[in-house]
């Protein structure tokens, strides 16, 4: 049942206490809305005079037009000339009577005004910002952090507006928020304050310096796109969109520094979406739970989280470095490296293994060999990391699952950089991290803390051994390799046919309430982050959590991959939204998508094949759409035959759309994806008998980005898709 206005607005009950309305505050909201909408009107009509009504208007790389307008009233604006009537409608809802309800309407009008003002900047060619400022955040950025939002790695969004009392205070607030994993939107001078203090900023750090003034709207159009992209909320369902924001986007606004009318009107825009506003100013009037003053920075973040109802679990990691998902995307340039390990530069490996209860001392860390301070700057250090785990419910199958987490956990520390895994791992420690006191034992500290925190049900005890002497590392590496080999053998045996249970994944339902992933041994979740073993481990950790086993039982269609048990599971889990699903085809009742897929595949009838594009690929594709545009069609838990969101590694699966002809159908993908899949793709093609040169028969953007451009290439190379039965 759609949410009604009346139902939604119950959240505001009790804000005005005993009829003591903060009329001065409401007047500011009114004045601010007058200013914002009048300014938007002036800019808009000037743009119309200069560019004409048919001038195209768009934010870069989004499928949601002007998302504030798309989400709240449904108009899919593509031309300047469509805006006047929308702006006029919003202007007409600005009322003089000073009530909370009218202040929220003023806030809504201000959101529209800001969206129009900012979209016009792109029309005028002054929208783009140099780094680190972001301006509008494109759809791929929204999707990139989808998975972290849904699993609450990112516990909420903090919108920081204005200027803190000092740059140091700003840095401290942001470090605290980053430590908790918050997604941060910053606007106005707090950005300069953070740059001054060398705080890591930018898309890679989930800390977006948007710009100034009305550019704060880019936090709002980001949040509203989450509802459209993951929530499957149809455009224009205003109350649904607001309800989604209130329930699932756990945002709050911290307003730092002096306040003016436009800012207050914008605050009421946030309140209109269900987000509270906290100011650091002493103010004469407040609005209970919604617009409140809290001048003390010491517990400002805690206060804001409490107000928004964000509770954190998880232990503090006791290392001398900032720690949180914000730093996962951090790169450490060559000049900033103190020492590095692995990556072909020195011998290195990492191994997680289960041990018996008597072989482990919980929390124990051993460093064998010289510590980091005994190496010179620029040294390449041999490294062995062995994580030993005991747990009553631990299984050998989980070793690989846990071992892969080493990568994420290490990257969470500011100043540590980690890629790949096993004996291919490559690590860097920055000069800054070393200066702050990082020593090898801290690898152990952070790994122990995170393993116990994230896998409490299967990890009872952890100890970590670090080795830095080449001889020892080489000796242990042999042992590790035999372990890897054994695991790989086991994985090869893990086929869809060989096991009895699939796993559902409802992780994304926190944001995409009707979407269900069915995870099989040979089909990774579309986010690329959840494998069948992950699902299994997750179920062990929390039997009522996001992953539940689906005893698959007999299939009704072995080819397309339909199991009545799977249908029943998805029917229940999708709230009755989906009835049936086929696991091995994208043409008939395919799997749905939440929104955080790594790649999208789409049929290309002219080539009798399919094409794939990725979040990273910005250009157009042979179906005539960019990733963002395609993504706008497939998210939100809806079945869209012919299109599907997938994880990158699904391409090399033995169960890759087998009903449709499998890998032989693939006629186009970005070069970057080819390189990413590398030898695995070549091997898989060879296994299928498609020949050693199959990958070279797949077109990419260097061949062309339209059907016309790639068809001659495919024909010339003799692509096998032409020989397959017709797709449609």
């Amino acid at each position: 049942m759609p949410v009604t206005l009346e139902e939604f607005e119950r959240i505001y009950e009790g804000a005005v206490e005993d009829g003591q309305a903060p009329r001065g505050l409401f007047k500011q909201a009114y004045d601010g809305a007058v200013i914002a909408t009048s300014y938007a009107e002036i800019l808009l009509h000037q743009a119309l005079r200069v560019h004409g009504p048919d001038a195209p208007l768009a934010y870069p790389d989004t499928a949601y037009f002007l998302p504030v307008i798309t989400a709240l009233s449904g108009e899919k604006v593509t031309k300047v000339g469509e805006l006047p009537q929308i702006l006029n409608r919003l202007r007409s809802q600005i009322r003089e009577e000073l009530t909370f309800e009218n202040a929220r309407r003023c806030g809504e009008a201000t959101l529209y005004a800001a969206e129009i003002i900012e979209a016009l900047r792109y029309l005028e060619g002054i929208g783009e910002h140099p780094e680190p400022w972001t301006g509008f955040l494109s759809d791929p950025v929204v999707r990139r952090y989808g998975i972290k939002l849904v699993d609450w790695t990112i516990p909420g969004q903090a919108v920081l507006l204005g200027r803190a009392r000092s740059s140091k205070d700003a840095a401290k607030l942001v470090a605290e928020l980053m430590g908790y994993g918050f997604m941060i939107f910053a606007s106005d001078e707090i950005i300069e304050q953070l740059i001054e203090e060398d705080v890591k900023l930018g898309i890679d750090y989930i800390a977006f310096p948007l710009g100034s003034f009305t550019q704060v709207i880019h936090a709002v159009n980001y949040a509203l796109r989450a509802g459209l992209a993951f929530g499957g909320i149809p455009p224009g369902q205003r109350e649904e969109a607001r309800d989604y924001q209130r329930r699932r986007v756990r945002a709050f606004v911290l307003h730092l520094g002096e306040i003016d009318e436009v800012k207050v009107a914008a605050h009421f825009g946030a309140i209109f979406l269900g987000f509270p506003v906290i100011t650091d100013q002493e103010v004469p009037e407040q609005l209970k739970d919604w617009w409140v003053s809290h001048p003390n920075y010491e517990d400002l973040v805690a206060f804001a989280m409490e107000l928004r109802g964000i509770k954190l679990t998880g232990a503090k990691v006791d290392i001398p470095l900032n720690f949180g998902p914000a730093f996962e995307g951090e790169t450490i340039r060559k000049d900033d490296v103190h020492v590095e390990m692995g990556g072909g530069r020195s011998v290195a490996f990492e191994l997680a293994r289960m041990v018996g209860p008597d072989d482990i001392k919980d929390g124990h860390i051993e460093v064998h060999g010289p510590d980091i301070d005994q190496f010179k700057e620029g040294d390449r250090v041999p490294l062995g990391v062995v994580v030993e785990i005991y747990g009553r419910k631990m299984q050998e199958d989980f070793e690989g699952v846990l071992e892969r987490r080493i990568h994420y956990f290490m990257n969470y520390a500011e100043g540590l950089w980690h890629v790949a895994q096993r004996d291919l791992c490559w690590l860097r420690v920055s000069k800054e991290a070393f200066r702050k006191g990082f020593r090898f034992q801290h690898f152990g500290k952070l790994l122990i803390a995170k393993f116990k925190d994230e896998f409490p049900a299967i990890v009872d005890r952890v100890q970590v051994k670090i080795y830095t002497e080449e001889e020892t590392v080489r000796a242990l590496l042999k042992e590790a390799r035999s372990k890897y080999h054994a695991r790989d053998e086991r994985m090869r045996g893990l086929t869809d046919e060989a096991i009895q249970e699939f796993y559902s994944c409802l992780l994304c339902q926190s944001f995409a309430p009707n979407h269900v992933c069915v995870i099989t041994p040979e089909r990774v979740g579309l986010c690329g982050a959840v494998t069948w073993l992950d699902g299994k481990a997750s179920f062990e950790i929390n039997p009522t959590g996001p992953n539940r086993p689906i005893p698959k039982g007999p299939a009704t269609d072995e080819v397309k991959g339909m199991w009545p048990a799977v249908n029943e599971a998805i029917r229940v889990s999708s709230n009755g939204n989906l009835e049936e699903v086929n696991l091995y085809t994208l043409m008939d009742r395919p799997m749905t998508s939440c929104g955080c897929f790594e790649a999208i595949m789409a049929i290309l009838p002219e080539a009798n094949g399919i094409m794939i594009t990725t979040r990273e690929h910005k250009g157009s594709t042979p179906v005539g759409m960019t990733f963002s545009t395609l993504a706008g069609m497939v998210g939100g838990g809806v079945q869209t035959p012919g299109f599907m969101g997938i994880g990158r590694s699904y391409l090399t699966s033995r169960k890759f759309i087998t009903a449709d002809g499998g890998l032989a159908r693939v006629v186009w993908m970005p070069r970057e994806l080819k390189e990413f899949l590398g030898q695995d793709l070549v091997d898989r093609a060879r296994e299928l008998g498609l020949g050693d040169d199959f990958v070279d028969k797949i077109a990419d953007e260097t061949i062309g980005a339209t059907v016309e451009e790639i068809l001659p290439f495919l024909e010339e190379r003799g692509h096998p898709a032409f020989a397959l039965p017709s797709l449609i």
Binding site: V34, I35, I42, W133, I259
Partner: protein
């Protein structure tokens, strides 16, 4: 409810709105910092002469509605007084709200100021045209600076190669006059060709780039009539468009005045009432327009013999207000007083004639003159004073008319009453004449190709903290000259490079802040070092002052040219240039229009007199805070000189900080410098 100014203090001192104190009745009419003025106010008291100082007291308390800007008189149903706290009175009879009324009154003040400046500019342009066309004889006016004429012509896109001076003068004059009445949609030439590309874009996007000066004045009067615009933002933007017309008229006025009368170069002179020498026939020229007064100077020299025959040593022309500044800048004529002291000059008993042209002429000069022998001569068809002489001044017969007036003064000299002589000893040496060209020549001693870079480098290196323009009037709501001097001294001591125009320059000159070498007394260590460096970099005829006199109030665009040059050197738009402006004693409507375009240009602008906008929180917020978000400039409204100094320094420090951080970001990310401010 919230702090009502844009807080740019990097230390973030807690501040709150400082509402303008309503003027109170003050028993002491000797409210001045000027020792000469103080003596003469005592004289006035002794003789029972009423001055503006007395009348200010008599006017207290002034109307609160008027002070707040919520008194609406644009239609005959009014006056309506808006009182948001009183039921039924929140709106005028037509329903206009506080913000509409305040915005309208403000915009109309801008229109008034713009009309004044642009009329002045049109007059100069017409003189140049008539000179070029040979309608005015050489003996009256001529092109004195053909090089500047060429530079202007090149800037506005005219072909100069092989074009004779007269022809070029005609084309430039016509181009200037075209900026008054263009009927097509191109932006005014004198605006677009003198500002940064960033400002051009900004003004265009915001629809405030004027196409014709006269039209924007007409538009804003129309827009603010009864039953027209009610939208405060639209009215304010209309006001800004008018203010940019003001800029246009002012800029062309300065340009063409330089062409006709010469571009000022450093010149030594003196200032304050002590320059009125009883041994001479003393003539004060008062007002703003140099066309007449420059010929009075010529005529005075020619008729010195007649004066000697009458028993005087010769003819001593002195200046008051901005006519005084014009003559001081170009001819080194003594400056007797700024605007507040105009009546006092007569009370020296030694002033034989006061020739007035346009603007800031208090009708009271005639009444004071009644008690003395002084002949008050009005010369402009728009400026007549009952009981005063009126001479219909025309450019074609300018010199002859000037001579006629000097002779009148010589006759008047004979009627002096020795008993009424109250000559002042107070005067200060002044080195004036700092046109932008002169300033650049000075700065160019260190870097001839990039004179503005000498300033920006010194700022980035921390030797000086920025540049400040002091402008504006005297306003008897505060102690005469006190705010000017307190803020000037405060900024100098804190290493700010200061330029000044108009009556603010007058205050500085009278107080010795423009005396040769005065920077050594008033400058902070950094400023002293900087100016000593400039001083030693080349031969200086006169020692450098602490405050550089840029010209009359119509010459404020010289300062705009300076910040534009600095913006170019820094490769940023104006809102990032460490430059502030202050009008400590703003009074005239012209100050309102100047302040408005200075803000639109992107400069933090202090005003030491509360403008009549406190009746609308919206207008107040737009002016003091939100203007920054849109234009980069904003008003700092603060009558307290001590906190004003702090805020101006904060604004400079903040810009230097931002520049530094933006450069750091560009460096760290290998990206372009952000255009954000």
């Amino acid at each position: 409810m919230s702090p009502r100014h844009r807080n740019t203090s990097l230390g973030f001192a807690a501040t709150a709105k400082q509402p303008g104190a309503k003027p109170r009745r003050d028993a002491d009419a000797r409210r001045t910092q000027d020792p000469a003025a103080c003596e003469l106010l005592e004289e006035a008291q002794a003789r029972g002469i009423t001055t503006a100082f007395d009348r200010f007291i008599a006017q207290q308390p002034q109307c609160g509605f008027g002070l707040d800007g919520v008194c609406c008189r644009v239609c005959l149903q009014g006056p309506c007084r808006i009182n948001p706290r009183k039921a039924g009175m929140e709106k005028g009879i037509c329903g206009a709200q506080d913000y509409t009324v305040v915005a309208r009154n403000l915009a109309r003040a801008i229109a008034g100021g713009t009309a004044c400046h642009s009329d002045h500019g049109r007059h100069i342009a017409k003189v140049l045209l008539h000179v070029a066309e040979g309608e005015i004889g050489e003996e009256n006016y001529r092109v004195s600076d053909p090089e500047k004429l060429r530079r202007i012509a090149t800037r506005i896109g005219l072909e100069t190669e092989g074009v004779a001076v007269a022809d070029l003068a005609r084309r430039v004059a016509l181009a200037a006059l075209a900026d008054y009445g263009r009927h097509t949609d191109e932006t005014c030439t004198w605006l677009t060709t003198t500002i940064t590309p960033g400002r051009q874009t900004k003004f265009k996007h915001c629809a405030i780039a004027p196409t014709a000066i006269d039209r924007s004045i007409t538009d804003i009067i129309t827009q603010t009539a009864m039953g027209m615009d009610a939208d405060p933002v639209n009215i304010i933007f209309g006001g800004l468009k008018t203010a940019l017309s003001d800029y246009t008229g002012m800029h062309l006025s300065t340009d063409l005045s330089d062409v006709l009368f010469g571009t000022p170069t450093p010149v030594l002179s003196q200032a304050n009432l002590g320059v009125i020498d009883p041994a001479y026939v003393n003539i004060a020229t008062h007002g703003h327009n140099p066309t007449l007064s420059s010929l009075v100077v010529d005529a005075a020299q020619e008729l010195a013999g007649e004066a000697r025959q009458a028993g005087a040593k010769g003819v001593n022309v002195v200046g008051i207000c901005c006519t005084g500044n014009e003559l001081l800048m170009r001819d080194g004529v003594y400056l007797a007083s700024n605007v507040a002291g105009q009546e006092l000059a007569i009370m020296t008993g030694a002033l034989d004639a006061m020739i007035v042209d346009i603007q800031c002429i208090m009708p009271s000069v005639r009444a004071v003159a009644e008690c003395y022998h002084t002949a008050v001569i009005a010369t402009n068809p728009l400026v007549k004073i009952p009981g005063a002489h009126h001479v219909d001044f025309r450019e074609e017969t300018a010199l002859a008319t000037a001579k006629e007036m000097v002779r009148l003064a010589i006759r008047s000299y004979g009627k002096r009453d020795p008993a009424k002589l109250r000559v002042s000893e107070h005067k200060q040496d002044v080195v004036a004449g700092w046109s932008l060209e002169a300033l650049f020549e000075l700065l160019g001693r260190i870097d001839a190709d990039h004179p503005a870079r000498v300033l920006t480098d010194a700022i980035l290196e921390g030797e000086i903290r920025g540049v400040a323009l002091f402008a504006g009037c005297n306003n008897l709501k505060v102690n005469h000259d006190q705010s000017h001097l307190a803020i000037l001294k405060g900024l100098l001591a804190n290493d700010v490079f200061v330029v000044a125009t108009g009556c603010s320059a007058g205050a500085a000159a009278k107080a010795g802040l423009m005396a040769p070498g005065s920077y050594e007394e008033y400058g902070g260590e950094g400023l002293k070092k900087f100016l000593a460096r400039l001083s030693q970099a080349g031969a200086t005829r006169h020692g450098l002052p602490a405050v550089f006199h840029l010209g009359s109030c119509v010459d404020n665009t010289r300062a705009a040219d300076l910040w534009t040059a600095m913006a170019r050197e820094l490769d940023v738009d104006v809102p990032k240039v460490p430059f502030v402006a202050s009008a400590p004693e703003a009074m005239h409507e012209k100050a309102v229009s100047i302040g408005s375009w200075v803000v639109a240009m992107g400069i933090p602008t202090h005003v030491g007199i509360m403008p009549q906008i406190e009746g609308s929180e919206l207008v107040y917020g737009v002016g003091t805070q939100i203007a920054h978000d849109v234009y980069g400039g904003y008003f700092i409204l603060d009558p307290n000189p001590t906190t004003a100094v702090e805020r101006l320094l904060d604004a400079l420090e903040y810009r230097v900080w931002k520049l530094r951080v933006h450069r750091k970001a560009a460096d760290r990310f290998g990206a372009a410098l952000t255009a954000g401010y």
